[in-house]
Every structure is written in structure tokens, then in C-alpha cells.
């Protein structure tokens, strides 16, 4: 009975989407082609072209960027960030074209992909890497928050958006080296209320991980505030 009901709702939903597509069409964020009714945000063809990060690579990146610091307990990332490829278009649209829906879409996909991992880590809360409030006002939103939302919708782990505050307005890091980045983010974050994170397992979420400097710094303040374990998840890994 319930299955029948669901199919009817789904069918109806499809027709509704088709009607809305007629009035306000949707396009693939990457290739700008029209989306099919079943597709969402990115078309299947583009989605299939994005390079997945294989577990071996993730492991080696973890060893390279996090292990020695002993802050991040474990780390996952779904894709490889390649210049001038699909994923870059998508993340650009998310960050600079104010398309916050992409964040939810990527978060959902991330949550689905690593659902078992997240469960095995016993995570209590998802914390997006915060933006400075001026940056947030300029961009209109924090893209990591919507990725965290997406993860939360798949894993039903609560998002704590305001757990960490970004104190300083840091320079854009896109052209910096690791050392510069580490100095740039040093002391940039603060935990708002230590009792919120005390003894908790926390998952830090960001869009792209490059050197890991930001995630390390956030993790450090979380551990200082008494967090039990800090894990990290990003949509993509950039070669560095």
C-alpha cells in the first residue's frame, strides 16, 4: 500500500517538475545544457566526468597533510579538483554566482558516498568552516554551511553552524604557499561556547581541501575547547 502511494506521489512530483521546467527551466551548472526531469543541478554526463578520489589517494593525502599534526583523526573527500574542468565550474558557481543549492547537492552526494564512514566515526555534529561575517555578507551565504546541510540530510547528524567563529578577515588563499597559508589562518578561529563541543565527535566540512591549513587550524581550536575527536570531509581534494 505504502509503496503504491509513494509511486503515485513520485509520479505526480515528476509531472510537477516537468511543468516547472517548462516555465522556469533548469540547466546543468557545468555544461549549461538543459537538465532532464530526473536530474538535479548537474547533468549525469558531467557528473560522470568528475574524477573520483580513490581511497588510496585519500589515505596518502591524509598522511601528507594531517597525520603529523595529530589534530584530524580521519579525513574523506569525494572528488579530485581539476582546473578548468566540471568540478571547478560547479564550485565557482556555488561560491561566486550565489547558487547555494549546489552546496546542498554536493553535500548530499558527499553524505551518501561516505555514509558508512560517518556512522563508524560516531559523529555528534557537523561544523562547516565559517566565513568571516564581512565575507559572508559579501557572498550572501557560507557555502560550507549548505554542504554541511546536505550531509546532514543524508546522515541525520545535526549541523552546528555557529560553533566556530572566524575572528579575522583573512586574505584569499588561492595564490599562497603552505607556509603562507598556515600563517594566514593562525589564530583566525575561535570556539564560541566550549560546552557545545566538549567531549563531542566533530565533522569539519569544507568545499575544497588544498593544503589542509584551514582545517588543521579549525581542528586545533576545537581540540583545545575539549572536543573528543575531529574528523574532516571535503567535496574535493586539490593537488598541492
Amino acid at each position: 500500500m505504502t509503496i503504491q502511494k509513494w509511486t503515485i506521489i513520485k509520479m505526480f512530483n515528476n509531472y510537477l517538475t516537468e511543468l516547472f521546467d517548462f516555465i522556469l527551466p533548469r540547466f546543468c551548472t557545468s555544461c549549461r545544457n538543459k537538465l532532464a526531469t530526473a536530474e538535479n543541478t548537474v547533468c549525469n554526463s558531467c557528473l560522470s566526468k568528475i574524477k573520483l578520489a580513490d581511497p588510496e589517494f585519500i589515505k596518502s593525502e591524509y598522511q601528507r597533510k594531517y597525520e603529523s599534526k595529530r589534530i584530524i583523526s580521519s579525513f574523506v573527500s569525494q572528488y579530485i579538483f581539476e582546473k578548468d574542468k566540471e568540478l571547478q565550474h560547479i564550485i565557482h558557481a556555488l561560491k561566486y554566482d550565489k547558487k547555494f543549492h549546489i552546496g546542498i547537492f554536493l553535500g548530499k552526494s558527499l553524505g551518501k558516498h561516505f555514509k558508512s564512514q560517518f556512522q563508524s566515526w560516531n559523529i555528534n555534529m557537523v561544523i562547516p568552516i565559517p566565513l568571516h561575517h564581512l565575507k559572508k555578507a559579501e557572498r550572501g551565504f557560507n557555502q560550507s554551511y549548505y554542504i554541511a546541510k546536505g550531509i546532514s540530510s543524508q546522515t541525520s547528524i545535526a549541523v552546528k553552524a555557529n560553533a566556530i567563529k572566524r575572528m579575522r578577515f583573512t586574505q584569499s588563499q588561492t595564490t599562497m604557499t603552505l607556509k603562507e597559508r598556515e600563517e594566514n589562518v593562525e589564530g583566525a578561529f575561535k570556539v564560541r561556547k566550549t560546552e557545545n563541543v566538549k567531549g563531542k565527535n566533530v565533522l569539519l566540512v569544507d568545499d575544497v581541501m588544498t593544503t589542509g591549513a584551514t582545517i588543521n587550524e579549525c581542528g586545533r581550536v576545537l581540540l583545545e575547547a575539549g572536543a573528543n575527536q575531529v574528523y574532516a570531509a571535503t567535496v574535493a581534494l586539490a593537488d598541492f
Partner: protein, 796 residues
Amino acid sequence: MKNYPFIRYSLIFISGIVINNFFTIGYELLVLPLIIFLLISILGYFIKHKRMAELVSTISFYLFFFTLGNYLHAIEVESKFFLPDEMKTIEKLVVIGSVQSIDLRKEKEISFNLKSDSIRIDNVYQTREIFLICRVRDNDESLNKLYNKLVPGNIVRIEGTFQKGREDRNPGEFNYDNYLHSQGISGLLYVNDDYDVKIINWNSSAFQTAIFNARKFVDSQIKSLHNAQTAGLLRGLLLADRSNIDYETKTEFVNSGVMHILAVSGLHVGYIVLIFVVVLGRFNIFIRSILTIVGLIAFLLLTGMPPSVFRAVVMAVVIIMAYMANRSTNIFNSLAIAAFIVLSLNPEELFGAGFQLSFLAVLSIAVIYPIMQKYIYSLKLKSKVVNYILLFMGVSLSAQLGTLPLTLIYFGKLSSVSLLTNLIVIPLAGVIVGIAIFTLTLSLFISSIAIFYSSANEIIIYTLYKIISFAGSNQYSFIPIKNFTLYDSAIFYAAIVLIILGLTQFKSVAGKIIFMILVITNAVLLSSFDNRNLLEDNNLNVMMIDVSQGDATLIKFPNGQSALIDGGYASFYFDNGKRIIRPLLNHLDIYKIDYAFVSSITQESYGGFIPLIRSGIIRNIIKPMPDSSSMVDIKFEELIHENNISIKYFRKDVLEIHEVKIYLLNDENSTSFIRTKNNQTGVFKLVYGNTSFLFPGNIENEAEYFYCDEYKNFLKSDVLKIANNGSINSTSLEFLQTVQPKMSLISVANQNKFVKTSPFILERLKKMNSQIYRTDQEGAVLLQSDGVKIRKARWK
């Protein structure tokens, strides 16, 4: 277009409305096709993977939208009821009906929309559902009393005088009756005593009343915090009520090309969105968007839902919703959706200036601006400020280019300073709206601090007015362009499209320039084909202007000089000189009056002259001998001297203007025995070749006999301007027999219940076989003489 099917359907829908406007089809006939087309298209949709079915389905879906446009327009046309066309004025009309919406208080007037249940004409009641605008004029106290008790939804019994809206009675005039008709309104109901408005049922519609009270409240807050000038503008910007901004100010706004500031529309809605986005910056996107939509709807209600705001709000909401739903916010598609929604609710709007201006403005920004933007970026300017200024001017210029034909058709002026004024005025208006909203909100809590902000706003608005007045009062601020027609508009748009194509297709700069020059010269040449000058050169043109009260006749001599005989009546509500003669002169490209004839010092003759004298367009005045016993005359003489206008008195003389001779017939000796003022009026005769015109001023019988005796056959003229609107006190049989006019001109307003042409005089003229031309029947009358014969020219 390919990716946005709705644009096509929306266009088809619009063409349906247009077609129905020309070929009226009853909506009952359209119901069945509408249902059939919808069913076929739905059916075809479910039969998948069959070429034929798909094709049939698509075609019938197009037809569905086409029929829908027809259907909605037909319904709108047929659901409106009007009084029969021949009922132009009805005295003592009694209307029983419900108050729809009430305008904010005007000086000396309250107006509201009324929907009648029944009306009484000539003591017979009939059930009739019509819409009227009711205007109550009385003393301040009784108006305040009425304003405070009347709310939307009240059932009232009103007795007053019904008048149709003013048609285009003179060349170049706005046809208010057509406008009202398109709004579904039969006409105006004038009430001169608040006693004639009786509330017979205190019903009130809660929603409308709440909106009305909110508007009243905001209005009173604005008034209590600001001076009159500022309050007038803020009322326009926040409440979309422009009645407190005077006519001169509006003209200056038009001249300097910033009239769109006063029309609450896209720009203001943009400001409201901006304010919400800034104020709610810290909230989550969903909350922010929903609050913005709520705020926009509140603003829409507060402004009393004028179509302009409604359009802009629909557009803004479509864009916000598309963003929220992660769908494309393509501007053309949003425009198509907004047009579809607005026109579904009111298809007639398609033919209104407001709809056309606002959609064309957005459309042209979407089309032309990207090209300019690309060009400006390619300049690679060092200075960021200059870059921003150029981009901003690009937006402004694109909007102005796209709407140019419409502004030329509706205003007849091309503002030459608008790019610069807009650069200053648009941001300033944003600041004013922002501060005003802040002030009003603050005044709810701490009014003592709000006053500081309101004074700051007063200074800004004072500056704004100064800038606009400086830019708009200059005679070089605009180029008058007359008789811009639909045909010219079509050429204009074709030229724009060609130029855009040329700029994108041609690679070399020389090619671009040559192509542009070719297109522009061709466009100018093509558009000059239908130009024609209404007042033909080398002819004597005599135009009796249709003024609402009094007389006014405009003359253009064969050498291009001009004269104005009387200026019509001027009252607080309506100054003919300002509202009719001045715009008419502008329309006819007349920028100076060489001879102004003031027949007599009565309100009917000289009232309308005062604004003309002040504006400095008059060179010579010919008036009756000064009358030291009349305060009015003394003041009038002073005014003439102050403006350095040379003065001449009516006494026996001949003026020669090119080949036209003007014989002034007044005899100084005659004044001693002609006692009434009307009889001291200036009397003169115009002779051009074999043709002649007699202007006897406000002459009455007593003086007529005198002139008949004095001049006898010399009075004989082809055309006689009938004195005193055809009153029985003038135009005696003896006078008529002496003049023997082939044509008679009677100036009488069709909406004036005090002044009427006497049937005896009409009968007398008919017996003389004189052709009668009356302004109440045909508006302005234009006669042209080539020196051999006189013919009547059509101007409509």
C-alpha cells in the same frame, strides 16, 4: 529562446490579446476551443514516442495560449459596463454604490473610486454597475470630517454632476477619457457639498480598510515630520501618490528625463529589495528571501497596488522564487512570466503607457546593456570610479534608448541632459527612500531623533529639486520632437536591431562606422516621410483652442509670427494658460507669441495669460485702455511692465504683419457711452488677401449697434468669432446682418454647466446660412486661409 519555451508561449498569449483587441469575439464562443485545445495537448503529452502526437500536442498547446489571450481579453472587455457614449455630462446624477478605494487627502478635494449598484438619471432609478471616480470639493473642515469617517466598503448615496473624462480636445493632448475607459471607469462624479455624500451602510471591507488606514497613517507621519516640499515627494516615492507635486515640478522632471523617479516602479522596488537584503544580511537565505517577498507585498499594498508597482513586484518575486528553487533566472524568461501574470489579471494593460514603458525598459537593458558592458570592459580603464560611472550610464542609456519611441509619443520631448541627471538623481532617490523608511520606522519609537533624519532628508530633497529645476528649466534641456508615430517607432527599432547586428558582425572600425551612418541616415529619411506641419507655412492659420472656460484663439501668420487672442479662464483647479495653451504651443513648435490680444480684463480673457507672461514668451500685448478704477487692471499692467513686454492699447489703428492686416476698430470716444466692461472690449478684424476674420472680443448688444453704425459694411467678414460663448446678450440680428459671416466660431466647453450657448443664437446663425463650428462638439477648430479661400483643416 530554444531553451526557454515559455517565452514563445507568452508571446503567443500576448498576440492573442492584440488580435482580440482588433477582432472582438465573444468569450462564450471561446470557452469550447479553449477546453478542446487544452485536452488535445494534455492527451498528446501522454502518448509518448509518437512524432505525430507530439506535433499535434505542441500545436494545440500554442493554440491554447493564443485562445487564452483572446478569452481573457474578451472577458475583460465584456465585464466592463459604461454609460452610453452620448452621455457626456449628467447633472444631478444620484449614485448608490460601494466605495472601492479612497485616495489620500488632496488639497481642497477628496477623491475615491465608486462602484454603483443603481443610479438615478432624470428621476428614474435604474440598476447599473459602473465604476466612477468621485471628487468631493468643499471647505477644509467638512472634507476632513468626511475623510475621517469614510472607509472602503461603505455603501453611499451620492448626488453630483457626472462628466466624462477629458478627450483630446486640442492637438497633442492626452485623451483622459480613453485612459479612464481602459481602466473600466465611466467618468468623474463631481460633488460640491459634502452633504451630498451620505453613508447609508457602514459596511466596511476589513482588508481594504486596513490598507487605507495604513496609508493614511504613513501619510500623516510623513507630513508631521517633513516640510511640504519633502512630504510631497516622499508621498510620491513611498505611497505612489503624486497629487501633491505640482505641474511645473513634473514638467521639470520630464524635461530633465527623470520622470521615472516619480513613477513608483521597478527602480523603487529595486531599492526596497536592496534595503531588505542589506538589513537582513545576517539571516539565512530562505528566511531572507521570504521576508523580502513579504516586504515587497507589504510595499505593494501600502502603495495602493498601482499597476506599475504590481508589475515590478511580480517581476521581483519571480526572480527571487526562481533563485530559491535553483532554477534559471534568465531575464527574458522572467520578463515573459511577469508579463503573462500581469496580463492574465488585466489584459488591457498591454495597451497602457505604463506597461509598455516598464517592460521595454527592462527588455532594452537586457538586450543593449551587455553590448555596452563588453565595450566598456574592453577599454580597460585604470580608474575604477570612471568604470563604474560608465557602466551605470550604460544601464541608464540602454533603458532610455529602448523606451525612446514611447517617451517621444507620450511626452514629445527628448531630454538632452537625462544621462547626466540620472547619474545624480537615481542614487540620490535611493538614499532618499532609504532615509525616509528609516525615519518613519524610527519615528514610531523615538520621534525626537527621527526629526534629525527627516531634516537631513529635507536637505537632500531640496538639493534634488534644485538640480532637477536647474537641468529641467533650461530651454536647451530638451529637444521637442512632435508627431512621433507608430511608424517612426517601427523604423527606430529596426534601426536599433540593425545597428546592434552591424556592431557585432563587422570586424573593422571603418565598416562599423559606415554601416551605422547608412542605417541612421536611412532611418531619418524614412521617418521624415510622414512628417507634416499642422500649422502650414505661407498660410494664415486661425485655431480656436478648446479651453474649459473662456476663449482663446491662436493665430500663425504666413511669415511664421504668431498671435494669441485671449488666454482662457484660470481658477485654482485649472489654469488654461498653464495646462492647455502652453502644452499646445509646445506641441506646435511655437516658442514666442509676437502679439497677445487681451480683449478685456475679465478672468475669462486674461486669466490664462498670466503664466504665459511670467514664462517670458510674449513680445507685445494689446489690451483695452487702462482702467484706474480696477485693481485687477492695475495689477495686470504692473505684471506686464515687470516682464518688459511692450504694451499697446485698443484704439483705431492698423497693424501689418507680412501680408495680413489687423484693423483695430475701437474708438476712444466710444468708451464714454458704452458703459459695461464687456462693451469696452477690443474689437478687430484680420484681413488676408480676399479672406477676413472678425474678432469682436466680449462685445454685447449695446456696442454691437455702435460698431454697426460706425463701420457699416466694413464689418462684413468671412469668419466671425461669436462673442461670449454665444450668449443671448451678444450677436444681435443687426450685427449678424452686417457681418454676414460664412463661418461662425463658438468657443464653449462641453463640460461647463454655467456657460451654455443660447439656442436662439444658433437658430439665428442657421437662418443666415452660416457654418457653425463649436469647440464643445469638435474640440479645437483650425481654419486655414491662403488669401483666396478659407478651409477647415483636420487635426485629429
